[in-house]
Symmetry: C2
Subunit: 405 residues, 2 copies
């Protein structure tokens, strides 16, 4: 007799992993998948990383393989100080902790601030794995609508005012996951003003900001923060390699102290060998050159996807026009059953991630996320053509006039 396990309330009741299942179906070799969020592996600087890794082993192998500090490698934090300065954020190595990727940064921040019942305000839709984390700590999640300029600040203020137990706002201001939308500078400043007024924190999750291939850079929300209420998160996953699982947190010094205590308890510290490798890579190469290569490739892929969408999608379908990042968000009007659309797409050998898991509460039907970073231009053309056919098959030749917008 196998025992019956009694899990804590933090554990999802179901073993179902709907997105995992989608990615499994989408992973079939015949399917052109726009479902994942993988960077283009052909751009990983394998030879350069190999060279600096050899140097790390030769120069400081024993140190890199030994235990280290929870706050993270000093050389790496020094490199991150420089990167933050390029984005308009002046900071110090004492304000930075290295994490095992953005997901851990989100988890530690949530663990640090959320008591069961506390409110977290998020963009609607938003990064689904952040929602999972917030739920696991018992958060009450409130979604705020977005438009092309990001989170709607009028609705944000109403949400904060209605929820006096709000702990923080979670925002992905640049090329948001899943919508690809970017918050305007004006709204960033207004978000800070509201946080000041109601004395709440902001978790700024910025994995994609460096991958801007059109338009002008906008300073992070953290840039507008005079009261140390923004916890800024970023990662090497999209600008270097996600397999290395390295990200960073920028916050007020006393908060970084708390973060290092939480981090020690979570996994002692992040992979020290990998921290040494990335620090050396950034010291010996200009990572901006590498990021520029990524931008060029993603710019082209996005343009090809946009062009194909215009050509093959029925009129009336709405979609975002990202100036960077990895994702386009599609809204098919007319109360479409996204699950049925997904199944039709799989028959046509093309896949996306349906909108549902990105919504904290009420789901907008007919929405889905497309990724363009991980497919060749030819695959993008073919896949979007198939997707167009699947949409037409599901909703009829044209939906123009059905949608009000």
């Amino acid at each position: 007799m196998t025992m019956t396990y009694q899990f804590s309330n933090r554990v999802p009741k179901s073993d179902e992993d709907p997105v995992g299942n989608i990615l499994k179906v989408a992973g079939s070799p015949d399917v052109i998948s726009f479902a994942g969020g993988l960077p283009a592996p052909e751009l990983f600087p394998v030879d350069q990383l190999k060279r600096v890794t050899d140097e790390v082993y030769d120069e400081s192998g024993r140190q890199a393989l030994q235990y280290s500090t929870a706050i993270g490698d000093l050389q790496l934090r020094e490199q991150i100080v420089k990167r933050m300065a390029r984005q308009g954020v002046q900071t110090t190595t004492d304000n930075i902790m290295i994490s095992t990727g953005s997901q851990q940064s989100i988890d530690l921040t949530a663990k640090m601030f959320i008591n069961p019942g506390d409110t977290v305000i998020v963009e609607k839709p938003t990064y689904l794995c952040a929602l999972d984390v917030f739920r696991s700590y018992g958060a009450h999640i409130v979604g705020v609508e977005m438009d092309d300029d990001g989170m709607r600040i009028d609705q944000l203020e109403a949400a904060v005012a209605e929820n006096p137990n709000t702990k923080f706002i979670y925002t992905i201001p640049n090329f948001q996951n899943p919508t690809g939308r970017t918050m305007s500078a004006e709204r960033r400043a207004r978000m800070i003003a509201i946080a000041d007024k109601y004395n709440i924190m902001i978790m700024e999750d910025d994995p994609y900001g460096a991958i801007r291939f059109a338009g002008d850079d906008i300073e992070p929300v953290k840039f507008y923060d005079d009261h140390e209420r923004v916890i800024y998160l970023s990662t090497f996953s999209k600008i270097l390699a996600p397999g290395l699982r390295l990200g960073w947190i920028v916050a007020e010094k006393s908060l970084i102290k708390k973060f290092t205590l939480m981090k020690q308890s979570a996994d002692v510290h992040s992979d020290n060998l990998t921290q040494h490798i990335v620090a050396k890579y950034m010291a010996e190469y200009n990572i901006e050159d590498h990021i520029n290569k990524i931008k060029q490739v993603y710019r082209k892929r996005e343009a090809v996807m946009m062009q194909a969408i215009e050509t093959y999608f029925p009129s009336g379908v709405n979609y975002s026009h990202p100036e960077g990042g990895l994702f386009i968000w599609v809204e098919v009007p007319g109360n479409v059953d996204t699950k049925a659309l997904f199944d039709t797409c799989i028959k046509h050998n093309v896949a996306f991630v349906p909108g549902e898991p990105f919504y904290p509460d009420k789901v907008t039907p007919g929405t889905f996320r497309l990724n363009y970073s991980n497919m060749s231009e030819d695959q993008i053309k073919t896949g979007i053509k198939r997707l167009g056919s699947a949409i037409k098959e599901t909703i009829g030749e044209s939906v123009s006039g059905i949608s009000g917008h």
Copy 2:
């Protein structure tokens, strides 16, 4: 004005990190430190790791740098299946998840099972960072006394009977941290019988078991487990290199599924490059040869420390006689103020970790942990001589007769 942060109940109220402070003081260049728990870095197989890392970059660089699965690299899990078989545990790759080190395994297990108020039963004393984790999830911690054969099973049964909300027993059966003691085979079987009787889980934390340099191997508690109630944890930290932050969990398949959901939410997956490196290292080299080198060095260091203790400690001081692992536990009888003893030691330029943080509740005074893995034989002799002087200075020349045991 900087804002006042409102933390969750999981966050320690104090920013104090007493053990961190001890390690800082102990880290002064003049101090011979037996305080840490670091493996000997001169034994890290740097050249071999460099060679297999180059091969990983050449053969599967893009794959190793890309996102991977939460359960972990299949090749690495296959190697772990073989290692577990050597220890008498027959398992499969579906029963294993790779973690970012044992600390994460402990954290995920605690998060998965502990609701606030649930009881966790631990050895007294035990690994202090496990206590931190259990506390952070609101556990009620109950300590059970140990003797030279490990946890006292009569007391264990009483503790379980008194605490019907017991979720699991946390045990470090081999060369326990901090005591260096090993649980007898007979007690392991009895622990399982009690867990069966009361239908509770066991978390078996085994970072040191492979480093046995005297006596005979004892099968893990998991070996005696017929009802899938043991979650077995181990790590590459002590048998290869802790900087890599790689450990593993062995558990029933449906539990591993839950673990992968929790892991995805915690940090997506562990460093993929490092997983590839360790899998290749284990495929191309015999890690047992490497472990044998570690055993030889640690055996000598432990013997030197034992000899020095016998020579320089006043009579009446008790200490454990580990057959493996990294630690010796010392009990100075006579109600000694360990803090005062520590301060005297620092004046003598020698350091240990005082017993206090290892106790879940009532602290036994005059106890401390010594580490012998990270100091040369000469340093061990000199350091123990200094420590003997400091003890004598604190308690007088001889304490024989003061202690009842």
